[in-house]
C-alpha cells in the first residue's frame, strides 16, 4: 500500500492513490529501469537478493504469478517485478513489506512450517508465505531460483525480520542519519515535549493544577514525562517519595472544573501505614481539597489484562490472514461466532463502556476521577484518551487527535517498544496491541458519529499501519527518557543536538498531498455549518420508531413504580429472568442507561458530548483495516467510498457554482457564513472502478466477474469435513 518517499532527488512518491487507474500510474512512473532494486531510502542497505522468484498473485483464481527479484534490506522485504509496470497496476513494482512481519511460513513438500528464529531446517524450501503486521499475505515460490540463493534470501529474511535485535539496529536511526535534513518538523501538532505545550493545554481546558518541572533530567522518574501536571496541593516532599508512583497525573479538565487524573499503583501497603497516608494525601490532593468528590477507578480490576488483550488479538487476526480461497470460504461459515469467540469485539466494548462510565462522572456528577493501573501507561491511556475524545470536540479534529496521541501516549510513556515488540523479543508477556485497541475504539466512534470527526477511517487505518513502519520516532520508545537518551546517543554530531527522527505526523514522509486528502472526512460537520444546521433545521426526527416516538425514551419518574418495586418483587417472586423483559436497575447497563437517554434527548450536536452505542449490533468490525487485502471481499463499485465520492463530487459542484457567482459579483454575505472548507478532493470520479478496499488494495483486474462462494454446499451439509479442516490449521499454530 504505502511506499516511502523515494530517496534524494527523486520526488515521485508512489502512494495509495496510484491504484486509482492504471493510466495515472503510467504518467507517474518513470520508464522501467533494468536495475533490480527498488528506490532505496536514505540509509537503506540491501542485505541479499534472489531471482527469479515467482510471486503468486493472490487476487487471481488461476494462481498465476509474476517473476521478479526478492530483496531483503535493513528496512523491508521487497519484490521487484521483471515485467514492465505498464501492464499491471502498481501492486507488483515496489511492493514492499516492512520488516515488521508477523510470521513467515515455509512450505516444505506441501507442508507448512511456521518459522521462528533458529528453527530452520537445511531442507530446500519450495515456498515462502509471509504474513505482515498490517495483515497482508504474500506467497513466494522459490523453486525457480538456485537452491543456494533461495536459502540465502530465506535465511536473510528470517534473520532480519524475526530474530531479536537491539534497539540500535532499528532502521529509523540509519534513516535519520542519512536523510537530507531539510524536512521540517510537523507543523501543527502539539508535541507535549515542552513546558509551554502543557501550560497551553491546561489553559485551554481551564485546568487548575501545577506543572512539574522537576523531572527535566528524569531525576524523579524515568517512567514519567519531562513535564507533567499534578494537583496543586501535592507537596514537593511527596512528589519525590515513591519515584512518581501513585501521583495523580492530570489528563484533562471538564468545563465544570472537575478533572480526570491517572496514576500508577503503589506496591502493596506496608504495615507502618506510610503508603496509606501517602495515598490518602494524594487522593485528597486529587479531590482538590474536597472541592469535588473523587471517584477512583482501578482499571486492572474491571478491564481485561494486557495479556488477555494480546491473546484475543492473536486469535482475532488469524481470521484475516488468508492466503487462499478455500480457507476464506471455510471461515465464512461461522463467521460471526468465530469473531465473537476471539473476544476482541467484547474487549472493545468493555473499554468503550468504561470510558462512558468515566464520562458520566465528569459530565453528570461533576466528580473528579482518578483512573489507576499498575504502570498507568496502558489501559489508562486508552480510557483517558477515549474520555477526552467523547467530551472534547478539539480532539476530533485531525491535529487535535494527533496532539492527544502525543499527550497521552507518546509523552505519557506508553511502552511502544515493548508493546509493539519492535525488537522481536521472545518475551511472551509484554507485547500487546494496546494502541491498536485504542484506534479500534476510536474507529467505533467514527463510524457511529461520522460527521463529528474531521479525520476519516482511512486515516486511522494508515495510523495503525504506521506504528510498524520503523522510520518514525513516535512509536519507537518505551518512555520519554528512553527517547531522549537514545536519540542523544545515536546522534552523529552530539554538539548539534540529538538525532532528528521524523515524527509520524509528518505525513509527507509517507504520502503525497493527494493521498493525504483521504485523511479528511468529507462528511465532517464544520463548526460553521453545524451552527446553521442547528438554526435552520430542527433535529431530524428519527425514522425507525413507528410506535415509540421520542417520548418513549423518557425514563419513568424516580418514584415510578418499576424502579422502586423491582427489588421487593424480586424477593417475592424470585424473578430472575424478568430482566430479559426489563433491565433491572442494579445492572451496570441500567446505571448508564439514564445518562444515555438524557443525552439522546438533547439536540443533535456534533461538537458536544459524544457517546458510543454499545449494544450488540452497534460494535462492528473495522472492515477497512481487516478486509482490505482479501480479494474475495472487495466489492467493486461499492463500499463506503461510493458515498464519499458522491459527497466530494457535490462539494466540487458547489464550489464551482460559487465561483461562477463570484465572477458575476453577486456573492451574498449571508451565504458566506456557510462557506465550506475549500477542499478539492482528489478522488477518482468514476466510483465504479473503485472497490470497497479503496484506497488500499487494487481490484481484481477491473473485471466484473463475481465472486461465487465455492463451498456453499459443503458449508451447510458437510460439517465433518469442516471440522477436520479446522484441526489442520490448529496443528500449524501449535508449531510456534
Amino acid at each position: 500500500m504505502l511506499s516511502l518517499g523515494g530517496g534524494g532527488a527523486k520526488s515521485s512518491k508512489p502512494s495509495f492513490v496510484s491504484y486509482i487507474t492504471p493510466e495515472e500510474i503510467k504518467s507517474e512512473k518513470e520508464p522501467p529501469k533494468k536495475e533490480r532494486h527498488p528506490n532505496l531510502l536514505p540509509g537503506e542497505v540491501v542485505f541479499c537478493s534472489a531471482d527469479p522468484i515467482l510471486k503468486h498473485t493472490q487476487d487471481d483464481v488461476s494462481q498465476r504469478g509474476i517473476f521478479g527479484t526478492l530483496l531483503c534490506t535493513n528496512f523491508r522485504v521487497s519484490f521487484v517485478s521483471d515485467e514492465t509496470p505498464l501492464e499491471e497496476t502498481g501492486s507488483n513494482l515496489g511492493d514492499l513489506i516492512s520488516l515488521q512481519m508477523l510470521f513467515c511460513f515455509v512450505v516444505y513438500d506441501e507442508k507448512r512450517k511456521m518459522i521462528t528464529g533458529g528453527m530452520l531446517k537445511n531442507k530446500y524450501p519450495s515456498k515462502m508465505i509471509i504474513h505482515c503486521k498490517d495483515l497482508r499475505v504474500f506467497q513466494f515460490c522459490l523453486t525457480f531460483t538456485k537452491e543456494e540463493d533461495a536459502r540465502k534470501i530465506f535465511h536473510g529474511i528470517a534473520h532480519h525480520c524475526l530474530e531479536p535485535k537491539s534497539l540500535k539496529c532499528v532502521f529509523a536511526f540509519s534513516y535519520a542519519v542519512s536523510r537530507s535534513p531539510e524536512m521540517q518538523r510537523s507543523q501543527r501538532t502539539v508535541m507535549f515535549d515542552s513546558k509551554e505545550d502543557w501550560a497551553q493545554e491546561m489553559k485551554r481546558t481551564k485546568g487548575n493544577c501545577r506543572i512539574v518541572t522537576e523531572n527535566e533530567g528524569f531525576k524523579l522518574s524515568t517512567r514519567l514525562p519531562k513535564y507533567f501536571i499534578i494537583p496543586s496541593s501535592v507537596t514537593d516532599e511527596d512528589l519525590f517519595k515513591f519515584q512518581g508512583k501513585g501521583l495523580p497525573i492530570w489528563c484533562w479538565s471538564h468545563h465544570s472544573g472537575c478533572a480526570l487524573f491517572k496514576a500508577s499503583t503503589l506496591p502493596v501497603p506496608q504495615e507502618d501505614g506510610v503508603i496509606q497516608r501517602y495515598m490518602e494525601r494524594m487522593l485528597d490532593a486529587a479531590a482538590q481539597t474536597h472541592l469535588y468528590s473523587l471517584k477512583i477507578e482501578d482499571l486492572s480490576e474491571t478491564l481485561p489484562t494486557v495479556q488477555d488483550i494480546q491473546q484475543s488479538y492473536a486469535k482475532f487476526k488469524q481470521f484475516f490472514l488468508i492466503d487462499n480461497s478455500t480457507d476464506f470460504w471455510v471461515s465464512d461459515v461461522k463467521w460471526f461466532s468465530s469473531v465473537e469467540n476471539t473476544g476482541w469485539m467484547d474487549i472493545i466494548r468493555k473499554c468503550l463502556q468504561k470510558a462512558v462510565e468515566v464520562v458520566e462522572c465528569l459530565e453528570k456528577e461533576n466528580t473528579n476521577i482518578l483512573i489507576m493501573e499498575e504502570e498507568g501507561t496502558d489501559l489508562c491511556c486508552v480510557i483517558s484518551s477515549l474520555v477526552q475524545i467523547m467530551l472534547d470536540p478539539h480532539y476530533r479534529t485531525l491535529t487535535g487527535f494527533q496532539g492527544l496521541v502525543q499527550k497521552e501516549w507518546v509523552a505519557g510513556c506508553h511502552a511502544f517498544l515493548d508493546r509493539c515488540n519492535h525488537l522481536c523479543q521472545k518475551d511472551k508477556e509484554s507485547p500487546s496491541p494496546i494502541f491498536l485497541l485504542f484506534l479500534e475504539c476510536v474507529w467505533q466512534l467514527v463510524q457511529q458519529h461520522s460527521p463529528a470527526f474531521q479525520f476519516s477511517e482511512t486515516y486511522l487505518t494508515v495510523l495503525s499501519d504506521s506504528v510498524h513502519v520503523p522510520v518514525f520516532s513516535t512509536f519507537l520508545f518505551n518512555s520519554a527518557y528512553q527517547r531522549e537518551s537514545t536519540l542523544k546517543a545515536e546522534s552523529q554530531h552530539p554538539q548539534r543536538g540529538p538525532l532528528n527522527c521524523p515524527a509520524v505526523w509528518d505525513w509527507s514522509v509517507q504520502f503525497d498531498c493527494k493521498a493525504q486528502e483521504l485523511f479528511l472526512n468529507p462528511l465532517y460537520a464544520d463548526k460553521l455549518k453545524q451552527d446553521k444546521v442547528l438554526r435552520k433545521v430542527p433535529r431530524p426526527k428519527h425514522q425507525r420508531q413507528l410506535s415509540l416516538p421520542s417520548s418513549a425514551f423518557k425514563t419513568p419518574p424516580k418514584k415510578g413504580f418499576f424502579k422502586d418495586e423491582t427489588e421487593s418483587l424480586k424477593k417475592m417472586l424470585r424473578v430472575k429472568r424478568i430482566s430479559r423483559w426489563m433491565a433491572s436497575p442494579d445492572s451496570p447497563a441500567a446505571n448508564t442507561r439514564e445518562f444515555y437517554e438524557a443525552w439522546q434527548r438533547r439536540p443533535l450536536d456534533h461538537h458536544g458530548l459524544l457517546l458510543p452505542w454499545l449494544d450488540g449490533p452497534a460494535v462492528r468490525l473495522w472492515m477497512q483495516r481487516y478486509l482490505r487485502w482479501i480479494p474475495e471481499v472487495q466489492i467493486l463499485g461499492g463500499g463506503p467510498v461510493a458515498v464519499t465520492n458522491k459527497m466530494a463530487e457535490l462539494l466540487v459542484q458547489v464550489q464551482e457554482l460559487r465561483k461562477k457567482l463570484d465572477l458575476k459579483g453577486c456573492w451574498q454575505p449571508e451565504a458566506e457564513r456557510v462557506q465550506l472548507q475549500p477542499r478539492p478532493l482528489a478522488l477518482a470520479r468514476n466510483s465504479l472502478r473503485l472497490s470497497s478496499a479503496f484506497p488500499f488494495a487494487s481490484s481484481r483486474n477491473w473485471t466484473f466477474k463475481p465472486v461465487i462462494p465455492t463451498s456453499l454446499l459443503q458449508s451447510l451439509m458437510l460439517t465433518d469435513k469442516l471440522a477436520s479442516q479446522e484441526d489442520e490449521t490448529t496443528e500449524v499454530i501449535s508449531l510456534v
Binding site: 425507525r544 417472586l573 471481499v633 461499492g638
Partner: protein, 646 residues
Amino acid sequence: TRSESSRTYMGCGGTGDESCKSVFFSLSYFSPTSSHVEWCKQLIAATISSQISGCAPPEVITRECKVNQQRVIPLDEVPLVPGETIKSTAKDVMYICPFTGAVTGTLTVTDYKLFFVSLEREPPFILDVNLGAISRLETISVQSHGENQRGMEIVCKDMRSPRFAYKKEEQSNLEIVETLSKQAFPLSNELPLFAFQYKEEYPVDGWKVYDPVAEYKRQGLPNESWTISKINSNYEVCDTYPALLVIPTSIKEDELRRVASFRAKHRIPVLSWIHPETQATIVRCSQPLVGPSDRRCKEDERYLQTIMDANAQSHKLTIFDARQGSVADTNKAKDGGYENESFYHHVELNFLEIPNIHVMRESLRKLKEVVYPTIDELRWHSAIDATHWLEYIRLLLAGAVRVADKVESSKSSLVVHCSDGWDRTAQLTSLAMLMLDSYYRTLRGFQVLLEKEWISFGHKFASRVGHGDENHANSERSPLFVQFIDCVWQMMRQFPSAFEFNELFLITILDHLYSCLFGTFLYNSEQERNEKEVQSKTVSLWSYVNSQPEDFTNPFYVDYENQVLYPLASLRHLELWVGYYVRWNPRMRPQMPVHQNLKELLFLRAELQKKVEELQREASSSRSISSSSEHASSPSHGGTPLHSTV
C-alpha cells in the same frame, strides 16, 4: 368467546401465594416455552406494584387536569385515517413496555389499528400497532391479592409482541379484547379487509405504475423470437399467472397446453427478463411433473430447446433449480421432479440448495427471540449465527449472483424454478434482475419489479402473510418476501449509491405488506385480485409512495447505468438489518443521520444553481445550464404519515 377461552392459558383459582404456584404449574402444562412463564411473572409483578402504589397518585391527576384546560385538541384523541372508525375503547389499561417500564393509559381499537396512549409521561406515550401486523392474540389470567388480573400479549409479524395488563372485572376491558380479536382477523370473522374501507385520495394513481406491455417494450419485446401472448387472458392456461405472458413466438397453442399439463400448477416457462445486447433470457417456471417413472414430455423438451435457440450467443441452456438436491429427489418420488439432462439436450442442471419455506419461517422465529425484546450483548453474534438467517440470505444472494453471472458473462439463457415457482423462483429472478438492470434500482423501477415478478406472477401473499386470518399456525405462512427485501437491503449496504430509493422505502414496503391499508399485497394471484376488484376498490401503496417520493429517495444516488452489480455473498459483508428487525428497541436508535449533511449540501447546490440560472437569464444568455436540481420541494401530502417519519 369460544376462541378466546381456548387461547386462555389458565383460569386461576385461590388467592395470594397459591396463585403464583398455580401459575407456574398450569403454564408449564399449557405452554412449553419459558417466555410464557416470564410473561406471567411480569403480569403479576405489574399488578402487585400497581396495588402497592394504590390509586393514581394525585400529582398525575393534577397534571392531567392542567392538560385538559390547556388543550384545544385532546392529546389522547386517536388520529384516524380516512375511512377508519373507532370500535372500542378501554381506560386504565397498562402497557408493559419492555424498554421503559409499565405505563397506564387508554387503549383504543379501530378497524385499522390498535392505539394506546398514556398521558402519564411527558410528552404522551403512544403505541400504535396496525391490526394487520398482528399474528396472534394470547390472554392469560392470574389472580393476585384477591383481584382478577388479565394479561394480553399481541404477537406481531413485525418482530414485536406488546403486552398489556388489565382488570378482568371491567366490562370495557372484556369488550375490547373481543373487538380486537374480531377486528384483527377480519377474514376469519366475515369482515372486509380494511383496504376496502380506506378512503384517502392521493394525487398519483399507483395502480398505473405497472403496465406489463410497457415494461416488456422497455425490454425490447416482442421481438422475432419472443411474443407477448394473450393465451392466458382468462387465466385458463394457468390461474396463478398473469394475463399477459411472454413466450417463444414459434410455440403453438396446443403444444403450450401440453407443456402446461407437464408443469406443476401449469406454470409454464415464461420470460422474465431479456438481456438488451446478447438476447440471453431469464425464464421462470415450476418443476416438471417427472415423477418416479421419469415421465417425458416431448413438447416441454422442445419448448426449452426453442428458448435456447432464441439466443444465438450460446448453445447451452442452464437450469437453476433453487431447491436442495435431496428435496428435489423427494419431490420426484411424489410426482414432481427436475429435468433429466439426458432427455433435454445441451441443458445443464444446477441445484442452488436453498431450503424451503418452513426452514425460513423457523429461522425468522428464532431471530425474533434474539432481537426482541432485549439483546444479549455478549452473545449477540453467535446468537445471530444460530438463527441461520444471514446464512440463508447469503445462499439466496449467491444463487442470484450465479444466475446474473450466467446471463451476463456466459451470455447463456437460463431457466429458474423451484417446486411451484412462486417463492424461491421469484426471489432469485427478481434479485438477479436487480443486479443486471439498473432500471429496477430506481424508485419507480423497483415498484415495477415487485408488481411483475412477485405480484403478477402469483407469489401467494395472502397465504404467506395470512392477511386477516386468525390461523397463525398455518404452515403456508413464511417470510419469503421479507427475506427478499432483506437481500435488497444487503445489496443497498454494499452499494450505497447504486439505488435511487432508501432504507425507509424498504421498511415502508414491509410495514404495508402486513398493514392491509393498501391493496397492493392482497390476495394470491392476479385472477383473484381482479375478482375482488382490488384496483377499483382499494388504494395502491405506490399512490402513497409516489405522492411524496422525496421521502423515499437516497441522496447518495448515482445512476450506475447499465452496470451489473454483484453483491458479495460472504458473511463478512452481510449484516443483520438492525433498522428493521431491532427497530422497536430504543437503544438501537440509528446513528446520527449522515444523510442530513448531504441533504443540506444538495439544497445548497440547488439554491446556487438557481441563482446562477437567474443571472444567466438576466444576462439573456443563450446558453442554459442543465438544471438537475435533485431537491425538488414538492408539497407534502396532508394527513397522517403512514410510514415512520424521517
